[in-house]
């Protein structure tokens, strides 16, 4: 009987408390949102399950927890804390992204730059609240709406905040269809939402091949700290466009990115152990994350309106919202909103230009922040 009671004392039923229960509910909610509501299921399902994994109560010292050196989860988590997974995800993103619309009308890239305002204003806000500069920089990067970049920078600057920042980044990315439309509608008139943009020109194969090389050299010369992200992003794109490395591109955009996404999602989720995650800081991070997304969306839309003062072929300012780099969700949201007002207005391809530019912009911003935070 004593053995039975002793064993029972080590089970989850005996060790469970309110904090673990709460985190398990959060995990279940993310799984529900992913499966039932189709909000970023490829991310929310592994992350949600990871939260369950990380919050199963257990005794310490048996090498189970993600934070215990030598545990299986700890080995898998190595890819997060050393910043290995995000560049690999960028490789896959590069291999699946078509930059044609951006190459066809490069002016729209500037919308991707404007939307990065969310990062820096949130950085300021986090400093104001009292976060240390490296923490503030990691929180600010949530405004880039780029999960891998957020994880990459946070792993370097504030690894103790990896859990809440990555959950906030991915949750808000999943909630783009909920967060962005009210801001877009608030900042535009009906007439502006009805603007039809001219067809983009056809982009040659040579342009597509030259772009990743030129893009890589230029961006890394300007922001060398972003080298791991840009090298993989542009290599992936070169593999896709070269035409002679289709096998590698195919692997990068399917098997590789899927494997890394599973490992990243699971370990990031598992890193949200209740005692680490449920702190007042996490609450602030979630609030600032929402603020970051809002500012990023608004900045993109307002900048599109500003550009319209100077350009001959008008830009539908809704596409400014796609400057946040949640690819391709924010571009889809733009299409959805434009479609509400004009069933025959197809702005998706135009919105993809600031969308992919946003990926580049947020990675540059991450490089700049990293540069300033490294002592």
């Amino acid at each position: 009987m004593e053995h039975i009671l002793g064993y029972f004392a080590t089970t989850g039923f005996a060790l469970i408390n309110l904090k673990f229960s709460l985190m398990i509910i959060v995990g279940l909610i993310l799984i529900y949102l992913g499966i039932a509501k189709h909000y970023e299921p490829l991310l929310l399902v592994p992350i949600g399950f990871g939260i369950l994994v990380g919050n199963v109560p257990h005794i310490t010292g048996v090498n189970i927890s993600i934070y215990e050196p030598g545990s299986v989860l700890n080995y898998l988590y190595f890819g997060v804390i050393k910043g290995i997974y995000p560049p690999l995800i960028f490789l896959g993103i590069g291999a699946m992204t078509d930059f044609s619309t951006m190459l066809a009308r490069p002016l729209l890239m500037l919308l991707g730059a404007a939307a990065q305002m969310g990062i820096f204003l949130t950085f300021i806000g986090a400093l104001y609240i009292g976060f240390a500069p490296p923490e503030a920089a990691s929180i600010g990067i949530i405004g880039g709406a780029d999960g891998p970049t957020s994880i990459f920078l946070t792993a370097k600057l504030a690894p103790h905040l990896l859990g809440p920042i990555s959950i906030a980044a991915y949750s808000y990315m999943a909630l783009v269809p909920v967060i962005q439309p009210p801001i877009m509608k608030l900042l535009t008139t009906k007439k502006e939402r009805l603007i039809r943009m001219e067809e983009p020109r056809e982009v040659s194969k040579k342009e597509k091949i030259i772009f990743p090389i030129v893009g890589f050299l230029l961006t890394t010369f300007i922001a060398p700290a972003s080298l791991p992200l840009f090298s993989m992003l542009f290599l992936g794109n070169l593999l896709k466009e070269a035409g002679v490395t289709e096998r590698l591109a195919q692997t990068a955009r399917t098997a590789l990115i899927d494997t890394v996404t599973i490992l990243l999602g699971l370990t990031v989720g598992a890193s949200t152990q209740a005692d680490v995650f449920l702190t007042p800081k996490s609450l602030y991070i979630f609030m600032l994350g929402a603020f970051a997304f809002g500012v990023a969306t608004a900045s993109g839309v307002i900048f599109a309106k500003f550009l319209n003062l100077f350009v001959k072929h008008k830009i539908n300012p809704l596409i400014g919202a796609a400057g946040v780099s949640a690819v391709p969700d924010s571009a889809r949201v733009v299409q959805m909103v434009a479609h509400e007002y004009d069933k025959n207005n197809f702005v998706l391809m135009h919105a993809m230009a600031p969308n992919v530019a946003g990926v580049i912009g947020s990675a540059i911003a991450a490089g700049v922040l990293w540069h300033f935070m490294v002592p």
């Binding site: 490069p106 890239m109 990062i119 503030a136 040579k206 300007i222 912009g361 540059i364 922040l369 300033f372």
Partner: protein, 133 residues
């Protein structure tokens, strides 16, 4: 905490430099990409462009045949060619002389003779001529 925390952490400077860098990088990329397709067109037609760039322009067809003649003859031949462009493809010499007179330029018989000798101007019969282009 507060504005002093922002200042102490150089928050304003980092924000300005950060946004500036993002804009600068994407603006530079925008400039390059805006012109990339034009550069590709030039590259693909580089032989044409180079030959046009370095080709010695001739003032009129057949210039090489009389390039050792005195300058005045070359100048008159050039004028003759410019006037010929205003006439019909087949022209009368009298029309050429008349037009030269109207325009106040001189075209000597000697010049016309040289152009005929070198077959730069070709007689077509019935007193009509054409420039051998």
């Amino acid at each position: 905490m507060g504005f002093s925390a922002i200042s102490n952490a150089n928050g304003w400077e980092i924000t300005i430099v950060g946004m500036g860098t993002v804009f600068f990088a994407l603006f530079l990329l925008f400039l390059i990409l805006s012109n990339l397709h034009k550069v590709i067109v030039v590259w693909e037609n580089k032989n044409n462009f180079l030959s046009r760039l370095f080709k010695k322009t001739e003032p009129f067809p057949g210039y090489k045949l009389i390039k050792n003649e005195p300058y005045i003859i070359l100048q008159q031949a050039h004028h003759a060619y410019l006037l010929y462009k205003l006439l019909n493809h087949e022209f009368y010499l009298t029309d050429l002389y008349d037009l030269a007179k109207k325009r106040g330029v001189e075209i000597s018989d000697k010049c016309i003779k040289i152009l005929l000798d070198k077959k730069i101007i070709i007689p077509l019969g019935r007193q009509k001529y054409m420039w051998n282009e």
